[in-house]
Each structure stands twice: as C-alpha cells, then as structure tokens.
C-alpha cells in the first residue's frame, strides 16, 4: 500500500485516497469546435509509461481535495506532490529496477 503525502493533511495510507488517473489532460471544447478524433483522444487515450507518471489523486477519506503527484510505475516511488493548477514538474530520471 502506497504512502501518499497529502499536501493538506500529511502522509496517509493509500486506502484513504482515490486515483483519478493521468493528469494534465486538457478538455477540448466547446462541443461544436472539436473533431471526432480530438474528442476520442481526450476521452480514451492515456499514457502508459515505464517510468514517471503524472496523475491526480483525491484524498477521499480526508480533506476531499484533489492534487497531482509523480509516481514511478515500476518502483511506485512517489516523488513530487503538487497542486492541481501547477504545471507538470521536472522529475529526474531514476534507475528502473524490475
């Protein structure tokens, strides 16, 4: 079980959180200015990297706030926790162990 450092409540068990998947996805719009391909990309296409993944989490059983974090998909290391509105941070490359 991951330990996640909620920016508002401090470190808590993963069980208190809900993962909202990849972050930094821009919603295209309005509806009449979006092509089918653009919409399909927004709706269905997601990154599946071997390495750092930027994703949003909700502290559902706590402060109920959303925030972003960078998680390594192999080691599960959580590196940077940052606000929803903040830009995607730089995370240095780490050795991947499988």
């Amino acid at each position: 079980m991951l330990k996640i450092d909620c920016p508002f409540c401090g470190p808590r068990d993963e069980a208190e959180f809900r993962c909202g998947g990849e972050s930094h996805i821009q919603r295209p719009g309005p509806h009449d200015a979006v092509s089918d391909a653009q919409w399909a990309d927004y709706l269905y296409m997601r990154q599946n990297p071997l390495g750092w993944h930027f994703e949003r989490w909700l502290h559902a059983a706590g402060c109920r706030q959303w925030f972003n974090l960078a998680r390594h998909t192999v080691t599960h290391e959580v590196r940077v926790v940052y606000a929803m509105t903040a830009p995607k941070p730089q995370v240095e490359a780490t050795e991947v162990r499988s």
Partner: protein, 986 residues
Amino acid sequence: MSQAFRSSQGGRIDRSRPLRFRFDGREYTGYVGDTLASALLANGVRVTGRSFKYHRPRGLMAAGFEEANTLVQLESGARTQPNLRATQIELYDGLEARAVNCWPNARHDVFGFFQLLKPFWPAGFYYKTFMAPSWHLYEPAIRHGAGLGVSPKLADPDVYDKCHAQADVIVVGAGPSGLAAAIAAARDGASVVLVDDKPALGGSLQYEPGLVEGLPAADWLKAREDEIRSLPNIRVLGCTTAFGYYDHNHLLANELLPAGGTSPRQRLWKIRGRQIVLATGALERPLVFPNNDRPGVMLAGAALQYLHRHGVLPGRRVAIATNNDSAYAVAFELRKAGVEVVQIADSRGGQPAPLAQAQVLGIPVTMTCAPTDTRGRSGLQRVELHDVNGQGQAQPGTGRWLDADVLLVSGGWNPTVHLFSQSGGALRFDDQQQAFVPHRLAQAGHLVGAAAGQAERDIAVEAARVAGRDAAANRIVRELAPVASTAQAALWSVNVEAIGRGPSKSWVDFASDSTESDLRLSARENFVSVEHFKRYTTTGMMTDQGKTSNVNAIGILSGVLGKAPGEVGTTRFRPPFNPVTFGAIAGRNVGAYYRPLRQLAAQEAHDAAGAKMEDYGAWMRPAFYPQAGEQESATIHREVLAVRSGVGILDYSPLGKILVQGPDAAEFLTRVYVNNVRTLKVGACRYGLMLGEDGIVKDDGVLTRWSENSYLVGTTSGQADRIVEWMEEWLQCEWVDLDVTVESVTTQWAVVMLAGPKAREVLSRLDSGIDLAAAAFPHMSAREGRIGDVPVRVARVSFTGELGYEISVPWQYGLSLWNALLEAGKPLGIIPFGIESLMVMRTEKGFLHVGSDTDGLTLPQDVGFGAIIDKKPEDFIGRRTTMTPDGRRTDRRQLVGLAPVDGASLLPVGGHVVDAAFKAASGHTQGWVTSSFMSPTLGRPVALALVERGRERLGEQVQVFDGGKLLPAKIVSMTAYDPEGERLRM
C-alpha cells in the same frame, strides 16, 4: 500414554503444569511451553499426517513455519481451523486436533492404497488423463476428492481486530541479530517495533548452544531483554507473524492472542516503517533420496529445537546425514542429552572442522557417504547408506544397512528471503554458500543475520548493530555486499542411478507430494521455465510455498537442464509468508458491520407499520407495508390503488440532495446538466439528466432553484455520494475558475413524498403557511414555509403520476413529520407505501428509472432528450459524445412502451425484442424489456423497453423472446397512464 520421549530435564517447558489434549481421537499429555508438535513427539507419535496425493504416512519433519507434513484440523464446530501446522500451535489444556486428508486417522488411512498407484500418477497426470471429452466432466469429482482440511460450516463466534502502527524502524525477527539491530536503532532514538512469531524473545538462542559475544546464550539474551525493557521506544509484538511486505515499507503481521476470554482471537497489524530490518533467519533444506519421507526422517535443526526448546528427544538411536557442519552440533547436543548417535554420514570429502570433536565424543563419522533408502512399517527402522562421489552419485557395491529410529538430515541452509522477495528485492545465487541470498533492495531497509547469509553469530550481531544504527539514521542501502563464508558443497539429491534405482520416491516437496522423477519428467517433456516447472509438478504450490522444497528443486533442475542454479532462477514469493485466517483479514467488517447501513429518521414508524425493509444501496428502506397474511403482490396492488384513488406517503429521505451555491452556480450547472438551466426561475423545479463525459446517462433528478445563487440538485439515492464527488472533481480539476461550492445535504433533510389526488387536502391540514392553491403553487415549483418552529420545504413534483409533494424538514423532525402526515390524512384514508409500489406507478406513467431503463450504452437522445439538447446552445459534460457517428446512428435503441397483444401476459424483464417474422433463436435482437409490471391501475401489464428505432415504430407488432418462448407484443407510448398529464396539474 506416558511421555516416553521427554528428556528428564531441560527445555523451556513447565513440567509442573501438565496439559491434556487429544490428537486423532487419542488422549495425551504435554506441558505448558509445548507446541502440539513437540507434545506429539514427546508421546512417541510417529505418524502425524498423510501426504496430499498418495496418502503416504508422514511424521514431523520440522519445528516451525516450514513443517510440510503435519497439517491438522484444530478443534471442531464453529471454532474449527483447517490446515494449521502442528509446529505452530501452542499447546493448551483440552486442545483437540486431527490430521487432515485421511480417514479415519493418520495411522490407519483407508486411502493409504493410493501410494500403490504412484507409478501411474506422474506429473501432469490430471491434464494427461482427464482430457476426453472435456476436463470439466471430471473436475467436480476430482475437486471433491482433493483438498486438505475442511472449512468451518458455522459462523465464527470470535472477534478479530485490526491495528495500525508506525515506526522509524520495524525489525522482523527477535533472534540475536534482530535484537541487536532493534536495540541499536532504539539507542539512537528511533521508534522501533520488533515483531516475532514466538511468545519469547531470542529466536535461535532458545535452542542453539554456544556463546554469544563471550556470554552463554541465556545470559546474553537476559541482558538484551533487560535492555529492551529499559527502552520505552521499543514496542515488542510477540506471537506475531509478519506475512506481507508491501509498497512503501508497509508490513502486515498477524498476532495470535490467547484462546478464551473476551479478547479478540487474532489481531492484524498494518505497520508502516521508515525502514524495515529483516532478521528472518534461515531455513534448513532436507536431503532428497529414495523414501526420504518416512516418519522419523527429520531436519537436524528441528531436532535441536525440540531438544532444547521443549525437552523432547527425537528418538533412541539417531543417524545423521548431512552435507554441512551444522548437523554435527546437533549430534553433540543429542549425545549430551543421552541419545545414542549411531552414525554421521557426511556426503563431503576431506576433514570438516567438527570431526575432531565427534571423535572425542565417540560418534562414528563416515565421509563421502549418503542415505539411499529407508525401511520401517509405521516409522523409520533402518537406513541404507552408500558411498557417494563428488556429484552425489551412489557407488555400486558400497551399500549397508543401519538400525536407527530417527534419521536427521541437513542439506544446507537457505536465508529466509520471502519477505525480502515480496518487497521487490532481487536474489543472487551465491556459489560460496550454495544458496540464494538477498542482493538488491527495492525498499528502504536492511537484512541482518542468517537472512543476509551471515552464519557466524558474533559477526552477525555486530553487523546487525551497524544496520540498526543505519536504519535509525535512515541510511539507504541499495545492494548487499557478499558475506564472507566457508565454501559449502551442494547435495541437491542423492543420485541412485548407478546402483540401478530411480528417483520416483525421492521426495522434493513433501507438502504437494512431488518427487525428483516428476521434475525430471517435466524436463523431458520440454518444460524450460522454473515458473512452468512449479505449476506442472506443483512443487512449491502448497500452503508452505515450498519453504523446504524450492531451492532443492532448483538445484535438481540445474543439473537436469545443465544450467547454474542462478540461471534457473527462483519463482516469485508472494504474500502471505504464512497462512492467515480469513477472520483476521475481515476483522470487524462482518455481519451488520460489513457495510454499515443508514437508517431512516422515521424508522420506528416503519417498523410499527409492519414495513418489509429491504436493502437499497446504502439504505434499508420500506419495500412495501404488508397487512396480516397479505402476499407481496396483493400489498403492492392495494398500495397503488390507494395512492391513485386517495393519498399515500413514502419515506423519500435517501434521495440525494446536493446544495450548489455561488455566483457561478448557474454556469456550473449549465455545464453539468443536459437541460437548459439558465431559464430556471427562483422557486421553480426542473427534471434533468446528467451524463458522463462518455455521453452515457449517469443520473437524473429534480433541480430546484431556491435563490439567485443557490440550487438544490436532486439525485437518485444510490448515486448521491458519487455525484457530489464527481462535481468536486470537475470544480477542482477542470473548472478551477468557477466560484461555486457543492455540499451534500442528503442527511440534513428528511423527506416525505405525499402523493395522490387528496395530497393537497392532507397537506393543507398541516399549517405550513404556504399557499397550496394550484395557481399559486403549480406543478414543478417549490416553496418554503414553517410548521410551528420547524422550517419546511415543499416541492410540488411527482414520480407517481399523481398530484404530489415532496416535503422536507430538518432530519431530526423526520419522524414527527411522518406521524403528522399520517394523522392529518387519517380521515382521508392515507396509507404508507413502499419503493416497490412507487416503481409500479412510475412504470405505469412511463417515468425513466436510470439503471433500470438505461444501461452503459444509453445516450440522452435514446430516452427522449434529443430535442432538449438541440435547443441548448452551451456545451455540457458528455455533449460531444452524443454527436459522434455512433451517437447519430439512426438505428439506436430507444426507450418505448411495450404492451402484450393478448392484454394479459407479463413481459419478462430482460426478454429480447425481435421482429414479428422472427422464428429461430439465432436471429438479431432489437432490444430488450427494461421494466415490467402488472398494472393494478389499468388491469393489464405495462412495460418499458429499449428497442431499435423504437419511437418511429409505435404501433408495430413485435415479439418478446424469453427462454425459447415468443410473446407477441406491440410497441406503444411510454406513458400508459394519464398520457395528458392532467392528474399532475390538479
């Protein structure tokens, strides 16, 4: 029966406190401090179990986690536990256990003849034999015959707890290295949790002879115990087995608590450590040779534990077979206890270090010698030895038999790396030690003692102190350096080919009953991966996860495949390290606490009225209110007619209520709803739909605008919590510029639905100060008032098709409101009605029920919202998906009504709609029935269905296919009752 094999002195048992227990129906006596295993051994019980497949008699082979032979069913009735290792059960007075997988008992097992079938029962037997026509034909019978103990049939009467803890440093294992690490970490100020499966500290110091840092083991241990008592920052969890090592140093451990009393039976610990120090010790390997599973063949280290921990002698005449020095110490201790050690057979050549002492004690030692067979009816009587060469091959013409009642074996030691492996750590095969040792760490921690491959006690203790200090300072180690050790010679199996025999009875995995010949056969059948060998032969697949068998199997495969053991590789160890009972995992979340139910404010009134309560999502709600002797259908019939002709009330409190407020509330709701929100006036209500971004209908309900910037969103009761969370996600993650707050007020307001042509008359009798006249308070509007001091909100909306009001009061007045309405309506024949009657009425009226009449493919235009969308200029969640080519398809399934042509047959929900010409069951489905009831109001069945192009096919005759039968039906309007809506506008 006397304890014939109990030593006259020694052991950490209390000879003044005898305990009586029963095993396989016979009564025995043991002492406080015994395990079930040690007490059986003390009583000379040799056959303690039967093997999994062949039902061969088996005896105790180990003293701890790794026991593979003696699985017992502990106790009977509700508290029975299957498949416990006798070595892990602390003896208590009155204990009752029996061996699993045999009948009537382990000594006399009617399935014992299975072992004669062994030659016809090779690896993959089931896959090869039970093929035609299908495995599924045989599976039920085979599953019935397989398995070990039986699970309890009765509810568990005990309570199990869960506890959370955190520490700077968790130390797993309280042997000398674990103690040293824990104390060193604590001395440096770290908070420490020390976990050990035994009730007492010390680990191997409880039974291994010799000095620790110049002190006798007991004195050294006493000093450490005193030290731990003086350090308040060490928390010791005894009788606690760490079984799972998960991400971010999350450790799961199970604590066994004494039986009896009112305390919980077990406690599941979830411990988070900044660092975890593994001091998990090492497990001894058995030797693989023909008939090595006979009762009386035991691990040498286990015998030492039984001798010094429990004061039990393994036998009278002991032979020892080993490929390393550790078994010599066992021989010396047994000899000191007065046991005759008749032979040490050492497979190695040369002059091992302890040889001199053996000679002093007069113990015969033969080098380059190994066991090749055993004999004995219900336990070992004779051992055959052969000379072996450096490859472990028995030499022809060198055989001789030896009388012995016990053969102690040692094939070397494996660091106990299970938790380390679970943590993501990588292993390395150490050629010097001939064992898999921990190599790269994946998480913050250390390994110490035998778990790190360190066999020298004093060196291990000093290294553990350093590790403890490093752990306290949170120093990160990524890779373990090789430990200096003496060269070990592997003996993965004794090869008997040269003396004209085979390995078909050379057991590798005692628990799964697989042999060296099974492994060899799999190799001949071209298996290559160790993971495939494991599954095909089932080696390592049983509840012990191959603690004594995995490495021997890899060693044997290494020889067969011509690869080094490190290249063969290990299978992955998974949690749990040791079996954990379901009770501990469930904890307190059982029965009524499995999922706490929410209770209605007016619950006592529903109970008094005899409501049939049912589970609807998070709530228990009245389904209907049967009168004495009344059937469900009759009750619903009566309730519906009473509402349609008079008036009724329904507890509507679980309906989701979300307060949406702020200057941008209207903008936000415009983006959330399919409907136009901007035109909604203060005091007005509007029925609306919400979609997911995938366009699928997510929820529906009534939106009420209470003031300029304050709206109340009504949701279905099942979705209430999810919709609030969903709105928050949009506001926090996407539309962060909108100035809006959302708040769930579902349980702040109790709601009563008042419905029926006499509803206004009933409501007028409660003095709310609201003008109820139809012109002043029309359908789809809402008003605020007061009943006495209590604020009341009334929305004139309807889900029954009748004149209706939804009356809300603060939750604590829910019961008073309910009773007041019943009292006020008494002269008008008011009745309480339940959800089931409501569902009948809304179906008569053709009102949509999201989740019944919609599914995971239903877009808003399929349920009649196309025109509303066309008129709305703004974007909203999911809108773009409704415009995709799939959304614009003209053959989409649309919600319509269905009526049986005969006017009497109930159309089955889920029945497929097919065209009138349809004959065979292979045709194309055009949709299905989604809601269907016998209408008490209309005296005929009513149904809703999703049907391809349904709306343009009104009047067309179709058929409903169900279970081979076809019912003719007609596509009709959704609204069977009051299509003009006059009754809503009364």
